[in-house]
Symmetry: C2
Subunit: 282 residues, 2 copies
Amino acid sequence: MSYWFDENHTENVKFSIKIKKQLYSEKSKYQEIDILDSYEFGRILVIDGCVMVTEKDEFIYHEMIVHVPMNVNPKIKNVLLIGAGDGGALRELAKYKTVENIDMVEIDEQVVNVAKEYLPTMATSFDDPRLNLFFEDGLKFVRKKENYYDLIIVDSTDPFGPGESLFTKEFYKNCFTALNDEGILTNQHDSIFYSTVDKTLRKSYATLNTIFPNFKLFSANIPTYPSGLWLFGFSSKKFDPIKDFNEEYWKSLNFKTKYYNRNIHKGSFYLPNYVKELIEDV
Amino acid sequence: MSYWFDENHTENVKFSIKIKKQLYSEKSKYQEIDILDSYEFGRILVIDGCVMVTEKDEFIYHEMIVHVPMNVNPKIKNVLLIGAGDGGALRELAKYKTVENIDMVEIDEQVVNVAKEYLPTMATSFDDPRLNLFFEDGLKFVRKKENYYDLIIVDSTDPFGPGESLFTKEFYKNCFTALNDEGILTNQHDSIFYSTVDKTLRKSYATLNTIFPNFKLFSANIPTYPSGLWLFGFSSKKFDPIKDFNEEYWKSLNFKTKYYNRNIHKGSFYLPNYVKELIEDV
């Protein structure tokens, strides 16, 4: 049997992965969740028909969304993780012994249950004693906090469906309030090579740029994501992600990473002109 | 009618593009050449079933393979272009008024003819008076030259089929001889995320690293190429691509580019750990 999973990157572009077996498929209260076992990428978490993470390349996304902010301010102790149900970002974050508290807010408990059962290389840290896991809407959760977190990481789905509210002005404003004076917000920002989510993202950059004194986009090459060029936002009240990058601290940690390193930290903020122009336009 | 062009990135991964119309399809003496008109990427040059260039993202490849070496040594006057039949690299190179001679060696005349007729945004410079166009095997052509070129750009197909000889030790040694003391060799180096061409490339890195005093890989995100993370080799007798990068010169040129800029020049040499390890292993 030849069994392929197709993802439409746009209505005119498809990415297809040969599948060994569908391991799980359920509709949760919020979304359709699938676990597929593939020849090339190992196990894949698919939500509403879109690849969320694959065992083969998830390290890129998770290393970048965590290590970039963590090495700009080594004093980060109190972290809020929004989304991130697969556990990959938590795994990277839990490596920092200096982190004292992790509040994780995932809207869909089913994603965490599925990750625990089917994605053991990602869901390594759900029993970390520093973790407080909440199954709530991130938008609502963040409203209750003020001057509290050192870092908020938004590891959400795309800017449509359940993740949509995590790209709004209201949400970003509440994040600003929930962060302390040294606070950093890192969020996944999709790709802009294809125009499908272009408008939402441009608005999102403009909003973050207005709310935070420092806002910069950084990128990583993630082969299974549309166009391969994935963007993340770095927003901060105080820190510049390049000038304040603490190379000595990163060196002292001696972490084994497969993507992130001190040059990648800097280089990820060096964007192609066509991406820069999209941001400057807003 | 729903008409899709599929490219196998590996036997277990497919990239598919919705096609408006097949504009051209012929088997030349060397290879199968197709021009497809697509909804997302405009016109696409396909050789032996693999996407060579698309109108939408060709600027990335061509800017990177030309502007990176050209801005390390502003004195480059005499250039050899191997392959490059679509004309995109020639278009970028022709922008430099300081270049006095361009020898271009494309094995397959049919590729140039097709580019002239179907890819007008790439084939802009075939009537440049500095151009000498040879339809020969690059491997043989380069044997005849000694201490002659300032720059050799190898814009070849993948390391199998007609392009195979352009990844060999013999070819690289002849390039070294054909270059003068300030000579630079830039060549396309495929992707290493998927393992299909892994061995050939590792060997290729090792060979270049042995022959040239300075060898470094650089990368660019090219959405239509397998994995999106494309590699290029920078080999030189004298120059370091970062230390000797002449930012002032690039600024003075005032070229309008869509991908390349001064930060991208540097950042493109900052490679993820998993890529660095592949090179260090050899």
